[in-house]
């Protein structure tokens, strides 16, 4: 079955905590065309299957949640909004009472819920409604049946995927302590689709890394343990607060490139293998089949994408790892890689792999960025839903970035799918004919 790799991957440079190549980063502030952190609820509630996410916010928050992903599918979803009204703004004491009674009502209606997240929003933050105190109060009342936690997904503090970071960070203090002296555990941090999680589990098992846990767990009652012997790999590049919280519990971060594409996945697995002292030859043997499958699967998209210029608008913080994947495995040319927030330490291994002439930008002034984009005339623009059709109407091909967050794209066996997400808009453009 095995065939020679189509792509020869350049050998990666060392994985260190600061980028070895100094880079200029264009930092901008102005209008941001990015979701707020509430949006993460859309995938988090699918992942943690016994949790409910209660946004304490406004009608705008509720409208955002149902519009952002077009998720009007479930009769009674495991998320909702406690919409604040005028009288809630008048007195905080009353707002707390109202919240308590809504939680009461909700938990009565949903006996299946084991964990409740109170999710702060812009309005709740501005009126300084203390949700962490509310969570403590409500936990005391509803434990052991339901644990109540809180985090903020507000747009004044978080962009898009930072909502997941805030959610996972709020989980960390609740993780049971690992028994001291127990064999070191590996924790994979960041929500992944179940199928991808299972693929990684199998790979780690084949490597001989025994105990692997995932955060978040599928059930809130089976949370992984954490302690000074725990090491963790980040599956997503946007988990700064969660990583910090884990480090405070004594866990150690294994710096690595992120598991996108053949190279990224190999490097990511290798960081774990090196830590656990896995024999390099065994590592190569275990990784080879998946790696070759990945290389084979992206070959077709490579024909479409090689040599094409790509421009990333900031969205999910996945931009830098994805640009690295596109540059190194699909031979694309990243023109500008915009990210809402750049965590230099976690992204260092990625930044070293990114072509030196790719412009990195952090934050956004959308009108200025659009002007740069038009001037660059890229072959493909990766951007949010608000910008995609307007750019298409100007004749610029786009890949809407939200799909990169909602689809299984990590690991060897999704590399082909990931490449195809970028290739499809260009292939479609080639395909369509409307006469002369």
């Amino acid at each position: 079955m095995s065939s020679a790799p189509v792509v020869q991957l350049p050998a990666p440079t060392g994985l260190c905590a600061t980028p070895s190549i100094p880079r200029d980063i264009l930092r901008e502030r102005g209008q941001r065309e990015v979701f707020c952190g509430l949006t993460g609820i859309i995938w988090l509630h699918r992942k943690i299957q016994d949790a409910f996410f209660l946004v304490v916010g406004s009608r705008t928050c509720a409208h955002l949640l149902q519009s952002a992903a077009g998720v009007m599918v479930f009769a009674e979803p495991r998320f909702g909004t406690a919409i604040m009204e005028e009288r809630d703004l008048a007195g905080l004491a009353d707002a707390n009472e109202e919240l308590d009674s809504i939680v009461e009502q909700l938990l009565q209606r949903r006996p299946d819920i084991k964990m409740l997240f109170l999710v702060g929003s812009c309005p709740s933050e501005v009126i300084k409604l203390d949700l962490s105190r509310a969570a403590t109060r409500l936990s005391a009342k509803h434990l052991p049946r339901v644990r109540v936690l809180s985090y903020s997904g507000s747009g004044i503090e978080t962009t898009f995927t930072q909502g997941e970071d805030a959610c996972l960070a709020s989980l960390v203090p609740t993780l049971p302590a690992a028994k001291p002296g127990a064999a070191g555990d590996l924790l994979i941090v960041g929500s992944l689709p179940d199928i991808v999680e299972d693929q990684f589990k199998r790979l780690f098992a084949q490597l001989g890394i025994g105990r692997v846990d995932f955060l978040p767990a599928r059930q809130s009652v089976t949370l992984p343990t954490v302690g000074p012997d725990t090491v963790f790999l980040l599956a997503q590049p946007f988990l700064a607060d969660t990583a910090r919280a884990l480090e405070q519990r004594g866990a150690r971060h294994l710096p690595a490139a992120f598991p996108f594409g053949a190279e990224g996945t190999t490097l990511w697995l290798q960081a774990a293998a090196d830590h656990f002292g896995i024999d390099p030859q065994h590592f190569r043997a275990v990784v080879a089949p998946g790696r070759e499958r990945a290389i084979r699967a992206i070959a077709r998209s490579r024909e479409t994408l090689a040599g094409k210029r790509v421009f990333f608008f900031p969205d999910s913080q996945l931009e830098i790892p994805l640009a690295r994947f596109l540059a190194r495995e699909l031979a694309m040319i990243p023109v500008e890689v915009g990210t809402p927030y750049l965590h230099v330490q976690h992204l260092a291994p990625e930044m070293d792999l990114l072509p030196a002439d790719a412009r990195l930008s952090e934050g956004q002034d959308v009108d200025r960025q659009l002007a740069r984009c038009r001037a660059e005339k890229p072959d493909l623009v990766v951007c949010g839903l608000g910008l995609a059709n307007p750019l298409e109407a100007e004749g610029i091909s786009t890949k809407w970035s939200i799909e990169l967050v909602f689809s299984p794209v990590h690991g060897f066996d999704q590399a082909g799918d990931l490449a195809e997400l970028f290739a499809r808009p260009l292939m479609r453009r080639e395909l369509l004919r409307f006469g002369t």
Binding site: H63, M72, L89, G155, P289, A297, I298
Partner: protein
Amino acid sequence: MKLTVWTYEGPPHVGAMRVASSMQGVHYVLHAPQGDTYADLLFTMIQRDGKRPPVTYTTFQARDLGGDTAELFKNAAREAVERFRPQALLVGSSCTAELIQDDPGGLAEALDLPIPVVPLELPSYSKRENWGAAETFYQIVRRLADRDVRPSPREGRRPCCNLLGATGLGFRHRDDVVEVTRLLASLGIEVALSAPMGAAPRDIARIGSADFNVLLYPEIGDVVAKWLEKTFHQPCVRTVPIGYGATRDFITEVARLAGVDPAPALAADPSRMPWWSRSIDSTYLTGKRVFVFGDSTHAIAAARVASEEMGFKLVGLGCYNREFARDIRTAAETYGVEALISDDYLEIEAKIAELQPELVLGTQMERHIAKRLGIACAVISAPVHVQDFPARYSPQMGFEGANVLFDSWVHPLVMGLEEHLLTMFRDDFEFNDAQGPSHIAASAPMPVEAARPITAATGPHLVWDSEAERELGKIPFFVRGKARRNTERFAAEQGVEIITIGTLYDAKSHYAR
């Protein structure tokens, strides 16, 4: 506080965006935090707009709150005017900015901009989207209408009117404006202005030059219609021409106001709808139990069409916009049903489940309810989704609109003759009513592939091992069939007899090439 799972209406500033984006030459500077830009995608995705809505968001962050958010607003407003050069500027706050009380109206005034500024006060914690649209439209007209403009003398010209209320994200507003304009043309009446949809501030200035107004969507245009009545003494046509009978009533009312003869337009009636409804295939429509829910205007119109022109039996009628509750109650009384005034999605679902209608005429929200309950459904009202913006011309109003209503309400049902046969062969093992309408694949029962147990492979000597089989089960059902076929074909070609997870993924990567 009120617990909400799904909402029928967005916040009032989204209503303002609907007005701004459907006009020409206006720009809206919204004092708002990051994240509120989600509203752009309502226009660019649902409506497939090829341009961004004309909205600038100030995007303040937590760290700005102690500092000068007012300065941020002023810069954003100044830059927006320079960059987009609108004829008029709308300014206002989203829910969060309302709390920090920066007063965008006053700040914009102080900027001394070269264009008119329309300050919008849209209370987010008590009002909603339709109210926001109506209020925005009213503030625009009040601020921009030239009070001295009056209609020119009637001699030697055709009568003319304004069409009020059409906006972006409305249910088929785009096509209704075209259809009603044609209908009025057939009466010899000109449309001086459609607003908000299609109007520029310069056009709004001359709104007083029309002889009368036609109010298409009271939810959005009623406040303006009343103000114009008072200020310019323009009378207003209030019959909404949705349905065949309502269209004829509309023609009569318009003709009376405009002083023209309705007879030629009524005689030229091009609608097929009455005959389609009388023809014998439609016999099976008789007495079908129908539940109607939407905004008040569309729901009341649908109730009339359903009971008078389709011969359905109305079993429930309701609306989500409380502002028009009284109209719905009156209509419900006429049909002898209980009025349901609610924007609590779960309450409406419970009502539909209880009433067990055969057809639901509702919004996108009811479409989801009906799908889950296995009931046929047609959408008649906003809130809208991408499929409510068809590529084809598809109005709800006028004679063509009546044709569209017939088609789109009958389509989800089993066809007449087919229903007749199903009754005859009720117990047939292949041809029975569990099959659902034959022309709608989506409502057919689970495909065979998804229903059958996955242990047995279809190939001659192929076996799936249990792990591979579980893995296959994790693939979504709508592509599972393809994954199964590809894997088995691949296994057969490779001479593999036992399909493992490895085979599954080898096949996946093989076919990805």
